[in-house]
Symmetry: C2
Subunit: 214 residues, 2 copies
DNA sequence: TTCCGAACAGAACATATGTGCCGTGAGGCC
DNA sequence: GGCCTCACGGCACATATGTTCTGTTCGGAA
């Protein structure tokens, strides 16, 4: 299912587009393509770009410079990563240094590049590095990174980061409401659950995914 | 060490840049930024872009339209994903449909977008979807995706995909050489190791990382 | 107060860049 | 041959877009 419906010139343009974007992070102009592919005229580039657009390999915004977006050949968008702030470390009973608030771009020591596939299109997610083996039963080990979606509510049994007011610390547990109190269940069979008053816990985020370090 | 050295306007511009690029796949023009951030003059945008460039948050090519490249605040480049072919499924005792050979771009049913962080800069990696819980001790569960690096050799104890000539099937195990024979150890304490002749096994790839589905 | 630099306004300017128009040549088809 | 379409060349044109120049405003230092 390769690109058999493309001329060699169109394949060259597609290849050049990929290389150029990989190198510059912005698309080439028509004249960049012209030079890069040894094409004699801008109108030829334009002509072939129109064909490529018809066939679903690229998308163009008219009248806008360098407005070429690479598609996958079926009209779907490509790539796309998000810089997710790595806010700190977390384990059973360890505090998160910075409570997750409104994330400011570029305002963190570290970020993790995630694909939309991994964030499931959610924005505003943040990441925490896991310390210790307290979540081993959830297949999350020391050094792994968990990605959380900010939320103040959750269903029973969800894996959430909660802030304990009295203890002034944050931890990652499964949350179960049991009448007046809340059971915080570690994801490690060798560790006992923690019980506390319902008004002592504040949900900060729900685990969206985990990233193995290995 | 966050971006305390940025003005609110500069932060707004940075944020707008991320959003715009995420939406269009090409950077905004100065006037796009002007409108998007409610800035009164193009020269103000230009002024702040210069500051952002000085501080290592972006890179610009002079004289070129929309030539803004997002950096991470330390002058390093951002993003960049690789489309890794998802070759098939694997489990204890199940075959890989296609033996990993020279990957042809776009010639697969599925691909997984991975960041360079995940592939550790390695190229030619491929991915397999895990079936079953035979690797649960390695924190790899049913439905997860393992990323492998093609190799024909490995050290003892490494997690590798091996092809068993006689049985004509491929499996994912830890490999230990024991004299004339080879011990293939599943990563599940409830499963027994498999012993076979050394010349019956052919290493096909080494596990680089695993991706949790959740 | 005066002076100076950072940040901003506004507009003109230069050029980077997409588009349109006209023409050519090679095939295919009747 | 006559007629069509596809792919291409060349070039002028409109405008999209970065740059620059001249002021203005506002604090803080001297």
């Amino acid at each position: 299912m390769a690109a058999d419906d493309l001329s060699s010139k169109q394949r060259a343009i597609l290849r050049f587009l990929e290389e150029f974007i990989a190198e510059h992070d912005y698309p080439p102009s028509i004249r960049d393509i012209q030079n890069g592919c040894d094409i004699s005229s801008t109108s030829v580039v334009d002509y072939n770009l129109k064909r490529l657009e018809e066939k679903g390999y690229i998308r163009r915004d008219r009248e806008v410079s360098r407005a070429i977006e690479l598609l996958n050949g079926q009209g779907e968008r490509r790539r796309r990563t998000v810089a997710v702030p790595l806010l700190g470390k977390i384990a059973a009973g360890r505090p998160i240094p910075t409570p997750p608030e409104t994330p400011t771009p570029g305002a963190f020591d570290e970020t993790v590049e995630l694909t939309e596939e991994q964030t499931r299109g959610r924005s505003n997610v943040f990441a925490l590095r896991v310390e210790g083996t307290s979540m081993i039963d959830a297949l999350i080990n020391d050094g792994d990174i968990v990605v959380l979606e900010p939320t103040s509510t959750c269903d029973d049994g969800e894996m959430v980061a909660v802030w304990l007011r009295d203890e002034n610390e944050t931890t990652l547990k499964k949350l179960y409401r049991e009448g007046e109190r809340v059971r915080l269940q570690p994801m490690n069979a060798t560790m006992a659950p923690l019980y506390t008053r319902a008004d002592n816990v504040e949900v900060q985020g729900r685990v969206v995914t985990a990233i193995r370090s290995l």
